[in-house]
């Protein structure tokens, strides 16, 4: 699966799709492959404030539980509650399965994240 060129990526295998001062956040195709069948996602409430690298939730597969880390500092403005009932879409379409939308309070952080090419090299 191709990694969208417009996204930014973290070494912890999250992606962020930026639009103005907001960004949709999810996990990468590589991450979902490593996790295997996802059965549960625990996401924060709207209004939660996060620092870059802070855990914003957990994702659970049949095999294991993993933390989800925020790529940037900011505030949760929207949560994809549909994932609660259909967590398996993270496996089938990871780059469309956004989990939260974060309003960035330190937009400069995003510039330091990996681009698609750098991320692809990381997971090669």
């Amino acid at each position: 699966m191709a990694y969208p060129a417009g996204f930014k990526y973290t070494k912890d295998h999250e992606w962020i799709d930026l639009s103005g001062d907001r960004g949709k956040v999810g996990i990468t195709d590589y991450a979902q492959q490593q996790l295997g069948d996802v059965v549960y996602v625990e996401l924060p409430e709207v209004g939660a404030k996060l620092k870059q690298g802070q855990s914003f939730g957990t994702i659970e597969s049949v095999k294991a539980v993993s933390e989800l880390y925020s790529p940037v500092t900011g505030e949760i403005v929207e949560v994809n509650t549909a994932l609660k009932d259909k967590p398996e879409t993270i496996n089938s379409d990871p780059h469309a399965s956004w989990m939260v939308i974060i309003k960035l309070t330190q937009p400069a952080e995003a510039g330091a994240l990996l681009d698609a090419t750098q991320y692809q090299d990381l997971v090669k």
Binding site: G36, D37, V39, Y40, T58, E60, V62, K63, V65, K84
Partner: protein
């Protein structure tokens, strides 16, 4: 890290797994496939069609000699005198306290020849325990024969039809927990109607050098029925759905056969065996805690080691838990106080700080149609 990987043991099918694109993980000192196409797909293949497992990491310890039966009777909990030649039984290797050094299958190969199939991580410890334990029995010797066998399991409703195309053995005549010798894909084999999935199927012991040939033949023979190679991940979800205990998770040296609700593998009528006195005393007094099966009433998976609560009181522990691909429920096993083990009773599991409701249900969670 790399040193650790180099030190891992490899089954004769290791290269096959890697060539087939399996995800490999270290398990009990072995480099083993955890999944090929995915736990869910593999699990469903076994429930609905057939799955193929490499379980060559399991150990085989043989006991032979004039007093072999007496030796096996001493060191294993079940009554091996009830086995005919060609029959197998589930049993325990117990401590004097009646707890589990390991669980195992005992195969009666001959009147005075037994084969014990033990868990991969326990082979060395089991062998030492057995060699020491059988000394008083007289003329019997134990041999760790693990390296002489590869073990392939074919499991699922189509297992018999697939395997039958590769052997002259009349598989329909092998009853559950019986075995016979013959050839599979022109390879000398012992074929046993056993498994760890809750499904019908066979376990096939073959010489290590022929394992790949048998594996490929089975994959090819099962292609039309949709056979899938399966890893340890599906093996675990399948055995849990079938209510089967996993040594190291659900039973170990801290849990007795009675607490694990495995009184049926204790030969109560046998004169003496390791653990007998403790188990008889516990049976008379009654257990204070017991294993239960449960399903989660709220989202989340209760995993090994999570605490169980009734109200604010910590009362027990989860020993296994998973989301089952077939029943599509979050289920598990754990130990609770004996007075709180009635089906329908509820308790909470602490899932990473979140109290999550669970209900006790009868095991097995899944039972195949006869």
């Amino acid at each position: 890290m790399e040193q650790t990987i180099a030190a891992l043991k490899k089954t004769p099918l290791n290269a096959r797994h890697r060539a087939s694109g399996a995800r490999m993980v270290p398990f009990a000192g072995w480099d083993m496939p955890v999944e090929y196409s995915g736990i869910t797909a593999e699990h469903l293949a076994v429930r609905e069609r057939a799955g193929l497992f490499d379980v060559s990491h399991m150990g085989e310890i043989e006991i032979a000699g004039k007093d072999a039966l007496a030796a096996v009777q001493r060191i294993s909990s079940n009554d091996a005198s009830r086995l005919a030649v060609g029959q197998a039984q589930y049993s325990g290797l117990l401590t004097p306290e009646g707890t589990f050094v390991d669980d195992l299958l005992v195969y009666r190969q001959g009147p005075s020849h037994f084969m014990l199939v033990v868990n991969a991580g326990n082979i060395a410890a089991d062998y030492a325990w057995i060699a020491d334990g059988i000394k008083p029995a007289g003329d019997a010797v134990a041999v760790d024969a693990s390296s002489r066998y590869a073990l392939i399991a074919i499991q699922g409703p189509a297992a018999q039809a697939i395997l039958q195309t590769l052997t002259a053995i009349d598989l329909a005549s092998i009853k559950y927990y019986w075995f016979t010798h013959g050839e599979v894909a022109n390879v000398r084999a012992t074929v046993s109607r056993t498994g760890y999935t809750g499904e019908d199927g066979f376990e096939i012991f073959v010489p290590p050098q022929s394992a790949d040939k048998v594996w490929l033949a089975l994959m090819q023979a099962g292609e039309a029925q949709g056979i899938l190679p399966c890893g340890l991940g599906a093996r675990d979800t399948l055995r849990l759905e079938a209510g089967m205990r996993l040594h190291g998770n659900d039973i170990d040296t801290t849990t007795t056969a009675l607490e694990a609700d495995l009184g049926w593998i204790v030969g109560w009528k046998k004169e003496d065996f390791t653990g007998a006195a403790a188990l008889r005393a516990q049976k008379a007094a009654g257990v204070t805690r017991k294993i239960v099966g449960f399903e989660m009433l709220e989202r989340g998976i209760a995993r090994h080691g999570y605490d169980a609560y009734i109200g604010d009181e910590k009362v027990g522990v989860v020993t296994s838990g998973t989301q089952t691909p077939y029943l599509k429920k979050s289920i598990g096993m754990g130990y609770l106080p004996a007075e709180h083990t009635t089906a329908g009773g509820e308790f909470d599991v602490d899932i990473r700080g979140r109290r999550t409701r669970a209900r006790i249900v009868a095991m097995p969670f899944y039972k195949r149609k006869a």
